[in-house]
Amino acid sequence: MGAFEFLIQGLGTALQPAMLLYALIGVTLGTAVGVLPGIGPALTVALLLPVTYHLDPAGSLIMFCGIYYGGMYGGSTTSILLNTPGESSSIITALEGNKMARAGRGGPALATAAIGSFIAGLIATLFLAFLAPWIVKAALAFGPREYFALMVLAFVTVSSAFGDSTLRGLTSLFIGLGLACVGIDQLTGQARMAFGVPELLDGVEVTTLAVAMFAVGEALAIAGLGSRAADEVIPVKGSVWMTAKDWSRSWKPWLRGTAIGFPIGAMPAGGAEIGTFLSYATEKRLTKHPEEFGKGAIEGVAGPEAANNASAAGTLVPLLTLGLPTSATAAIMLAGFQQFGLQPGPLLFATNPTLVWGLIASLLIANAMLLILNLPLIGLWVRLLTIPRHWLYAGILLFATLGTIGANPSTFELGMLLGFGLLGYVMRLFGYPIAPVVVGLILGPMAEQQLRRALSISQGDWMTLVQSPIAAILLGIAALAFIVPLILRQSGKGEVLSQLAGDED
């Protein structure tokens, strides 16, 4: 049987009423945990593993896929409406999405996120089905030096997310990089900047920082303004649905986001966040409406949301082809496979095609179900914004706290949440952008570790960084992205550029 027949057969299995019910439970649960900050799909699947022991393998795996995709999608809802990213991969979504929601365009923002996630999920799942063995070969060619080059590229391009002032953006970034140094150094096992506090040994949790900076900081800022809060949020302006213009501005970012997110998700050390950063930066460079970026540009929601869902499918490439779990959720899904006596690995496609294709088919089903579940709910979601502000933010604080405690039951973690919340408030007060702090915390350790690994393998020879073609090309692109704007500025095209990049003082 060829791949295509297997897929049809898998779809036949996944379309049975009982299986559809499992898929529905999965996506509903996934969306719910995605919405709650702190509680992620990994914990949910872990909690459900013992429950599913008595269910049949296909049903439980379908449910897990639903949770996985649902979690990736659910995080965007709170990002857009409440400026509170539920997952670290939806941090970038908050940048433009929340601005849109405040201007009464929450509906289109949610819709472009939902449809973009669907399209990205669909394309990426088909890639996973038909190209996985080849993609994984390419992904394995990425060693420490190639990852380091990718991180350099991410640092250079992501600076476009830094807001209006480069100086302020860099200050924020370095706060994040500083926080990233806290904890046990992965390569030597030595504690850094932990000051003897055991809770700091594992460093600062990205979701804690993101929830604190975005949600708690925002709540404090609103409370600080009190009755002087002038910029009233407009719940709905115009249609809740996407206009023709929204569609025409969204479809390219969806496809580009998929093209960026999927391969990076497939890399064993890629992760979902970097894809969203790169997608946002790409959209900001390519947009025909640069003036809208930072004020609610739909491209800035469509691209990153497509990228994070595509990377979710990408993560399954090394899991299914090599048995490599590259995210916490993938690790638990691996445990789920083992529970049913299956060992994912290079032979899984050959030894157990029915189940692999059933799984891929259920990803397609889960993806479609998410869209069906979420599109009608958009009208309901945007009504969240009509809740009086003091109640809304009290509720956000409650969920932020619950989520943090749920993920890590420790008073210290809660203290960090409040401390970083205060930091977020002060930064807002003085006009420093928030996102670069979180970006620094995510990219900093990755770049550092990969650089040190590369140098360790080469025994200290820096030339190793440019001796691999992939790394050299990536570094070359990064250098161009850095130098070309400088040259343009020198040759008197600075004005055009500052308008384009929007990152001038």
């Binding site: 030595q190 090599l322 916490a328 959720t329 445990a335 006596g341």
Partner: protein
């Protein structure tokens, strides 16, 4: 009426024989070995009626020492509280200079264990363990090893191997990965010379011919694994990544005996054995004074090797 029913229920509940409602702390994030061990215990204990309701709580961080510290202080004297731990925790307590150690809880039994395997990519010119040792002796820095976190089982295995081969363990070029398959990807992608991890982690790759299995750290050949032991190659190295369960500090002898009996019942059940087989873990059940002795010996040898590598001063 409602109060009456409620009172009746309460009376009924208290009248039941005292089967413990265990809470198991998994001192790691969901998905890892300790989390899976705790959740497997949960499934089996509930399924076998050893305990009507078992909760698993994740307290991640710092090689399990954060969960351990919290457990020691908050659960003292509570006979229903359990914590999962293991060899990695022994190492983490030493490298982090953790104020709370396994002496502050009540170790009950060793449950499972996995031996370590040493592999090279299929494309590597190194054909057997002797070839690898020769390369290591010629230039320790030129042989890069991929494995799990610094100071963990994999790192200790490389340190022991170097020491046994007469190479200075501080000179080894160990590249730590955060586990989760990243190390495996680096080995498969030919980024490093060799790799170290548990036998099961490499099994599928070795079967598919993408990795070459050079040796295992077991005392004798493992059934179904086609590789010599390090001992056969003249290297006196034996290492097992074991996992254990401990109870709270400050228990009476009776309470301790009850927990030990419950654990023994779990380990002896068919459901537990089936779970171990499914997950590829071997049954290394060891309890009572024999376990205490083994634990003390493991702590001493781990401290010695971590000092030799230079991770513990």
């Amino acid at each position: 009426m409602k109060t009456f029913i409620l009172a009746g229920l309460m009376a009924g509940l208290t009248a039941l024989p005292a089967a413990a409602d265990y809470t198991i702390i998994a001192p790691a994030a969901p998905g890892g070995g300790w989390d899976q061990t705790a959740r497997t215990m949960q499934t089996v204990m509930q399924g076998e009626g050893i305990s009507p309701s078992v909760q698993v709580q994740n307290v991640p961080g710092a090689g399990g020492t954060i969960g351990l510290a919290q457990f020691a202080s908050q659960s003292a004297g509570n006979p229903d509280a359990l914590i999962v731990g293991g060899f990695v925790m022994v190492g983490a307590i030493l490298t982090n200079a953790s104020p709370v150690t396994l002496a502050d809880v009540t170790p009950i039994a060793r449950l499972t264990g996995e031996y370590e395997a040493i592999v090279v990519p299929a494309a590597s010119p190194i054909a057997d363990i002797n070839g690898l040792i020769e390369a290591l002796k010629a230039d320790p820095g030129a042989v890069s090893w991929a494995g799990g976190s610094a100071g963990g089982t994999d790192h200790i295995a490389v340190g022991l191997l170097a020491k046994a081969a007469g190479v200075d363990p501080t000179k080894i070029n160990y590249i730590a990965y955060s586990g989760g398959g990243e190390a495996l990807a680096a080995i498969l992608g030919n980024q490093v010379t060799a790799g170290v991890s548990s036998v099961g982690e490499f099994e599928e790759q070795v079967k598919a011919g993408t990795l070459r299995l050079l040796a295992v750290t077991a005392p004798e050949r493992i059934k179904g694994v086609d590789a010599p032991t390090l001992k056969e190659s003249g290297l006196d190295v034996q290492l097992q990544n074991w996992r254990m369960v401990a109870a709270a500090p400050g228990l009476t002898d009776e309470q301790k005996a009850k927990v030990s009996a419950d654990i023994e019942k779990m380990v002896k059940s068919e459901a537990w054995q089936k779970q171990l087989a499914d997950k590829g873990w071997s049954d290394t059940y060891l309890a009572g004074p024999a376990f205490q002795e083994q634990l003390a010996a493991d702590i001493a040898s781990t401290e010695a090797v971590l000092k030799a590598i230079g991770l513990v001063k």
